[in-house]
């Protein structure tokens, strides 16, 4: 049981790293991206290929994974500067499908549908990380998460963060204020992709295998759900969203009823949580409600009339 809980903690850590990255793109900058799974896949496969075929150490491979994902972040970021709103979302969605499709078909490098197995456990601080002993993994992943959390916090509380939020609220006004919107948008995309790459790298190394089916459109959606459920534009909320979704999807196993109820029910419950959450708390669990000046004024007038 402890092992199972540790596993959930590890998964929460990995998804949270990717989620914070996505939150920077969607929550702070207001660009709807549907290809976070593609960046995770790029990170995971970079680690898998460099560690098995080229015998890199884990930490070099991890850094490299982040960088490769970030390069793809720039590649998808630059052309999509022309696109707005849902058109941008569709371009990223298409990019995600392309990445998955190429991974499945590029047999000589990615081993196609089989995926890559036997990724060695990293060695560091005098211990070898293995899938059996999960405590070092949990510590490592949460340490990286803490670093990412702090890093993004520093970004969003600086000039950069204020520029990103200005772009989200009104891009034209922001550029009129002298903000180089292109630079900041690509920057957000690249940083978000870098973090997804790191998450993917951890994912591959922890599972010791990667397979292409994992990184489908639903994974991007799931990470987006985590960010929105917690409350967009708030990193702590994103982590809470991740915790809730990971635990919600494992609840039947945690409570020990997964073999009694039909497996579809689990998914149905998940869908219900999503719908009900959105109806009753659309701004997310910790999200702030935007001040509605019209409503405030109306209430004031009503108050005065009485």
């Amino acid at each position: 049981m402890l092992n199972f809980i540790l596993l959930i903690i590890i998964y929460i850590g990995i998804y949270a790293i990717a989620g914070i990255g996505l939150n920077l793109i969607v929550g702070y900058t207001g660009l709807l991206s549907l290809c976070q799974a593609a960046f995770i896949a790029i990170g995971a496969y970079t680690t898998a290929i460099f560690m098995t075929a080229l015998h890199f150490g884990f930490f070099e491979a991890m850094l490299l994974s982040g960088l490769v994902a970030a390069i793809f972040g720039i590649l998808i970021g630059i052309p999509t500067l022309r696109l707005k709103g849902d058109y941008l979302a569709i371009a990223t969605l298409g990019f995600g499908e392309i990445v998955k499709n190429i991974i499945v078909n590029w047999d000589s490098v990615t081993k196609g549908p089989m995926g890559i197995n036997g990724i060695p456990g990293p060695q560091a601080f005098g211990i070898t990380f293995s899938a059996i002993d999960k405590v070092p993994w949990a510590v490592l992943i949460w340490a990286i998460l803490a670093f990412c959390y702090y890093f993004v916090r520093r970004i969003v509380r600086s000039r950069i963060g204020r520029a990103l939020e200005a772009i989200r609220e009104d891009e034209i006004a922001a550029s009129a204020m002298g903000i180089n919107t292109a630079k900041y948008k690509i920057g957000a995309f690249t940083t978000g992709a870098f973090m997804a790459g790191i998450a993917g790298s951890l994912f591959a190394a922890y599972n010791q295998s990667v397979a292409p089916l994992t990184f489908d459109f639903m994974m991007s959606i799931m990470i987006l759900c985590m960010a929105v459920l917690g409350g967009l534009g708030n990193n702590f909320a994103t982590v809470v969203g991740v915790i809730i979704i990971v635990i919600a999807s494992e609840i039947p196993r945690l409570v020990g009823i997964s073999h009694i109820i039909p497996p579809q029910i689990n998914q149905v419950i998940f869908g219900l949580i999503l719908v009900l959450m959105m109806i009753y708390r659309p701004q997310g669990i910790i999200g702030r409600v935007k001040l509605n000046y019209a409503k405030i004024i109306k209430e004031e007038i009503l108050h005065l009339e009485k």
């Binding site: 402890l2 499709n101 549908p113 995926g115 197995n117 899938a131 295998s209 020990g256």
Partner: protein, 395 residues
């Protein structure tokens, strides 16, 4: 917010302690647990469903026959959705919470390869009914499979097509999943080695149902035969569209064809398709008995992988029964190493899928049957085994 976290965390801790117990003892009044790992939802949900139903029948029979020292068995079905990251929590749960003694699964090779090290570490015997990738049995002492490896099936079929059927040109159409691609690639290598010519090799994506583009290209290549090592839903679709496009090539397939659903989906088009599958010993009536029972209980027919799942479950249950003993306090003591050794010694086990013998590393020693479909029935035409590099027919 912090409160919520505290509550969640204490919730987890309670479970940790509530579930902590000795691993190799089944207490009086509890059940012996075995697991099933496979996709129960999503695109491939039907394969997992068919196989898990077979395991359930095995467990019921085992209990009806008195169980092990009076202890009943129970199967815990866990959904993998066919994905590695969902399979990991599933195996952790089976190993850590349920403390299962054996697992039937996983279904897809990519998933089996990923969970095998974990089953090995937890000393759980894992018998895969359908993971055909050649590397799987080497993943550990506790890892077995009772399905033919791609290498064996495709090699035999490649030789058969080139030498026995004397087919000179073949086109291959396979889906980009681990099962189809493994078979297609090994078949191609062997067939070309035997002097055959592959005139077209086409792929499709998992979930595709429109193969007209590929078939139009194949038609232009004009092959004598078309090899389609896929699962039934895709095969049925290919057969139908090939006919619509007027492709006259003879159709060949692999054990994925053995699901009786093919008759429902493809109707008369299934007639005359020749495919390979583990050979059936003529004398055994076990298969017919099992199929009748399955039909009666679930209202549908089992596929070949379900037969494997059924046999795998029985092999595990027999091993547990033979090696465990009742202690003084009424508990059942199960020794995981002994269970594993007993399973490894399996020789000529008379199962529903045929005679099962495991090799040194846990792979299936199999004779390969060449089957055909005729009037909504599967019929075994011939039986072969591989001796060295030669195909030997067993009469």
């Amino acid at each position: 917010m912090k409160k919520l976290l505290v509550v969640l965390f204490s919730f987890m801790l309670v479970f940790t302690f509530a579930c902590g117990k000795e691993s190799d003892v089944v207490k009086a009044g509890e059940t012996i647990k075995i697991g099933f790992l496979g996709p129960m939802t999503g695109d491939a949900g039907n394969y997992g469903k068919l196989m898990s139903q077979a395991v359930k029948i095995a467990v019921e029979e085992f209990n009806a026959a008195g169980g092990a020292e009076g202890f009943n068995a129970e199967v815990i079905v866990e959904d993998t959705e066919g994905k590695v990251e969902k399979a990991n929590p599933a195996i952790e749960k089976l190993a850590g919470v349920d403390k299962v003694f054996g697992i039937v699964g996983a279904v897809f090779s990519s998933v089996s390869l990923a969970v095998a090290p974990k089953a090995e570490a937890a000393k759980i015997v894992m018998i895969s009914p359908s993971s055909t990738h050649k590397d799987l049995p080497d993943k550990g002492k506790f890892i077995f499979r009772d399905v033919m490896s791609d290498a064996l099936q495709a090699v035999v079929f490649g030789k058969y097509l080139a030498k026995v059927e004397n087919v000179k040109t073949v086109a291959i159409l396979y889906i980009k999943n681990d099962y189809s691609q493994g078979l297609a690639m090994d078949f191609k290598d062997q067939y070309e080695k035997e002097g055959g010519k592959v005139v077209a090799i086409e792929t499709a994506l998992q979930g595709d149902k429109d193969f007209k583009t590929q078939l139009t290209k194949i038609k232009s290549a004009n092959p004598e035969a078309l090899y389609i090592p896929n699962y039934v839903a895709e095969i049925a679709q290919i057969l139908e569209q090939a006919k619509q496009l007027g492709i006259k090539a003879k159709m060949y397939s692999a054990d994925g064809f053995s699901n009786p659903q093919i008759f429902e989906l493809a109707g008369d088009l299934s007639n005359g398709v020749i495919f390979s599958q583990a050979a059936q010993q003529k004398a055994s009536s076990k298969r017919a008995e099992f199929e009748a029972k399955y039909q009666a209980k679930w209202g549908e027919k089992p596929d070949a992988f379900s037969l494997n799942a059924y046999d795998g479950a029985w092999i595990i249950l027999n091993a547990i029964k033979a090696t465990s003993s009742k202690a003084m306090n009424g508990n059942l003591k199960v020794d995981r190493d002994k269970v594993r050794d007993f399973v490894a010694k399996t020789k000529d086990y008379d199962g529903a899928s045929g005679k099962i013998t495991f090799t040194e590393n846990g792979d299936l020693v199999a004779n390969i049957g060449i089957y055909t479909a005729e009037n909504k029935q599967f019929k075994q035409l011939k039986m072969y085994k591989l001796e060295g590099n030669n195909l030997v027919e067993i009469k």
